[in-house]
């Protein structure tokens, strides 16, 4: 028995080794040379520690871009960056609390669940730690006691998308929400509905299970052939929606919020029409940089007003320029 299993293992190893040597791919795969991203000199200010605490679920491409922005600013400003996230409000509060306890020099926090986080933000202020808000909490950052806000208003972003759909002459739009009950996502679809002159509809899908996302969008397109635009709220879902459109034999066009590397490629190929970009890199970068500026020079970016990082559109007219940055994971 033992001998046989050893032989099997050896055979499997040899097979893999043989395939490995013989099975090289002539195309695609990891690019031979990597690198890029913003690189600048390092400030000579004293080393400071900044905690960035988001409501990100692990494994969302959007937050990678936020993080690379924060890291770029941290590298430039001689900042030790502590980047963390927790999707549950209670856990996020605990992370902020532990940042206060460890005496960091600044905190950047997303206020997607502002009610839960406001008390702890005020605690940080009382402890003399400057706090900036970013990404979520456009309406709540000021009363919460945060110093600045970097992000977009989700409803405004939705309205920009709705206006564009109207200009394009679309008749019937389907807004795909990948997480039911998510305030920011609902606000986007509401915004689209506000300014879009045609019919608006919402479809809820299970974002963690891609095949079911494809099936749900396909079935909706089969059910109602009058839908001529699918609006998704995250880049991976836009790429899936493109497949649904094909599977359903529909002529609908796909537009989306937020971007990633593959989505930029899809815009270049014409599979996806456009993306509403809230410039996540800028959100991460400005959050860290503003805390550094405040510590070293007493500045506040935005001067007490929210600093909008979006909505900006990426479409065929500017995609070529964005593409090179997207390849580095910074757009």
């Amino acid at each position: 028995m033992r001998i046989r299993s050893r032989t099997t293992a050896a055979a499997a190893f040899v097979a893999v080794a043989a395939l490995t040597t013989a099975g090289c791919s002539s195309s695609g795969g990891r690019p031979a040379d990597e690198g890029g991203g913003a690189a600048a000199g390092v400030a000579d200010t004293p080393r400071m520690e900044i905690a960035v605490i988001t409501h990100a679920a692990p494994g969302d491409t959007f937050w990678d871009i936020v993080r690379s922005g924060a890291e770029a600013a941290a590298a430039k400003d001689n900042v030790e960056l502590n980047f963390q996230g927790a999707p549950e409000a209670g856990d996020q509060v605990n992370l902020v609390q532990s940042a206060i306890d460890s005496g960091v020099d600044g905190i950047a926090v997303t206020l997607a669940k502002a009610d839960a986080l406001t008390p702890v933000v005020q605690q940080a202020r009382e402890a003399g730690i400057p706090v900036v808000a970013f990404n979520g909490g456009f309406a709540e950052w000021e009363p919460s006691g945060a110093m600045s806000y970097f992000g977009q208003d989700e409803e405004l972003a939705g309205e920009a998308a709705g206006t564009r759909l109207t200009q394009e002459g679309a008749q019937h739009e389907l807004c795909v929400i990948q997480e039911q009950g998510h305030v920011g996502l609902e606000a986007r679809c509401r915004g689209v509905d506000n300014t879009f002159n045609g019919t608006s509809e919402v479809l809820y899908v299970t974002g963690t299970d891609m095949p079911s996302v494809e099936q749900a969008i396909t079935s909706k397109l089969q059910q109602d052939p009058s839908i001529d635009r699918v609006v998704t709220l995250g880049a991976p879902f836009a790429l899936t929606a493109v497949q649904s459109v094909q599977a359903a034999g529909s002529s609908a066009q796909v537009a989306t919020f937020d971007t990633n590397k593959e989505l930029i490629g899809a815009i270049q190929d014409g599979d996806v029409q456009w993306a509403v970009d809230q410039q996540p890199y800028l959100q991460g970068y400005l959050s860290v940089d503003s805390l550094w500026l405040y510590a070293t020079n007493g500045n506040t970016i935005g001067g007490g007003q929210a600093t909008l990082t979006g909505p900006a559109f990426i479409d065929s007219s500017n995609v070529e320029r964005v593409a090179e940055f997207a390849a580095n994971g910074t757009r």
Partner: protein, 354 residues
């Protein structure tokens, strides 16, 4: 319980005297006592409902989409059902799908190999994860619920950690332009035209897997072993059933099916989100239970799991086809599943009374 007297009508010459200790049951009674019959009636009820209320549901193209929805759940559910008949759970069944897909794409991409090499490596990995679950279970005697919960978290962390380490992002790089993509896509994620309707190839694989599992369960020695270890593994061991091998084999079957679904996802979507698959394990278990598997093991069927998956697919898409208000989607889904299960229960109770 009640007596059923078989009446030898037309009386053919009996070869041997009728044994009065053995009860002969009528065909309907035998049919009704099958594990999957209740769910079949539930499935028919759901089907009829949507045929009536949703005009689009009746189109062949829509039915193909429903079958596809059933297949992506069902391929896993059939393995999970076998495992549950064998008396164990696998909570890592959802994330192992993502792990396999990530392993195949990352391995081939990073080393710039033909994708089939990645597919093979990922198969070995998925089988190894299953074997590890089974081995640890037999070694420690801990409940499989705990062991696979551990694997579930470990794989979730690995998926994210390794992907971030290698790609710097949270999704794997697109493999659509690599060697072997077209042939692998043909195997795992192609669409076949049947009478003008595009049927996804996973539907065919699903039917094949269910047929294989049913044959194994009902016609082979291994099938008897599976029922035996699920019923009472101490008794099974006492009569000479290789309990250890059977259970490890069942976990490896789940690994295999997870790998298969993972490959389907990879070759349909080109790149894989490392956070995916979480929560799916319950859908598979639900499909198996709706299809007549007992949570306590020793009872159930492979066909039942397929019907369970189909009920889930029909309900989740039927609500869309019917155009019901999207805000209430989850409520409708819950109600429909509950109804299907209650029908299942009523039928089973009726069958037991006969």
């Amino acid at each position: 319980m009640s007596t059923s007297v078989s009446t030898p009508s037309a009386s053919p010459p009996a070869l041997r005297a009728k044994d009065d200790r053995v009860k002969t049951r009528s065909l309907t009674s035998r049919l009704l006592s099958r594990p999957e019959i209740g769910s079949l009636i539930g499935a028919i009820a759901v089907f009829v409902l949507f045929v009536v209320v949703a005009p689009t549901f009746r189109q062949p193209a829509s039915l193909a989409t429903v079958a596809y929805a059933g297949s992506t759940i069902g391929i896993m559910a059939v393995a999970v059902a076998l495992l549950m008949i064998g008396g164990e759970f696998d909570l890592s069944a959802g994330v192992v799908v993502t792990t396999s897909a990530l392993a195949a794409s990352t391995f081939a991409y990073q080393l710039r190999l033909n994708l089939w090499v990645g597919i093979l490596v990922s198969l070995l990995l998925a089988l190894a994860i299953g074997a590890f679950n089974g081995w640890l279970l037999m070694r420690t005697g801990l409940p499989s619920f705990l062991i696979t919960l551990g694997t579930f978290f470990m794989l979730q962390g690995l998926n994210l950690g390794v992907t971030k380490l290698l790609t710097g992002g949270v999704s794997s790089d697109s493999v659509a332009d690599m060697d072997g993509f077209a042939s692998a896509q043909a195997v795992f994620a192609s669409t076949i035209q049947v009478g003008g309707v595009g049927v996804r190839i996973t539907v065919l694989w699903w039917i094949l897997f269910v047929a294989l599992a049913t044959w194994t369960l009902l016609r082979t020695r291994v099938g008897n072993w599976i029922f035996a270890v699920g019923g009472d593994d101490a008794a099974a061991r006492a009569v000479g059933v290789p309990v250890r091998k059977t259970k490890i084999g069942l976990f490896m079957t789940v690994g295999f099916c997870g790998w298969f679904v993972g490959m389907h996802q990879l070759f349909s979507f080109d790149s894989i989100q490392s956070g995916g698959g979480v929560g799916q394990e319950f859908i598979y278990i639900i499909a198996a239970v709706v299809g007549g598997c007992l949570l306590t093991g020793g009872y159930g069927s492979a066909v039942g799991s397929a019907i369970g998956a189909l009920i889930f697919g029909m309900t989740s898409l039927g609500i869309v086809y019917a155009g019901w208000d999207a805000n209430w989607f989850k409520l409708f889904l819950g109600v429909m599943l509950l109804l299907a299960t209650i029908v299942n229960l009523v039928v089973k109770n009726q069958a037991a009374k006969r």
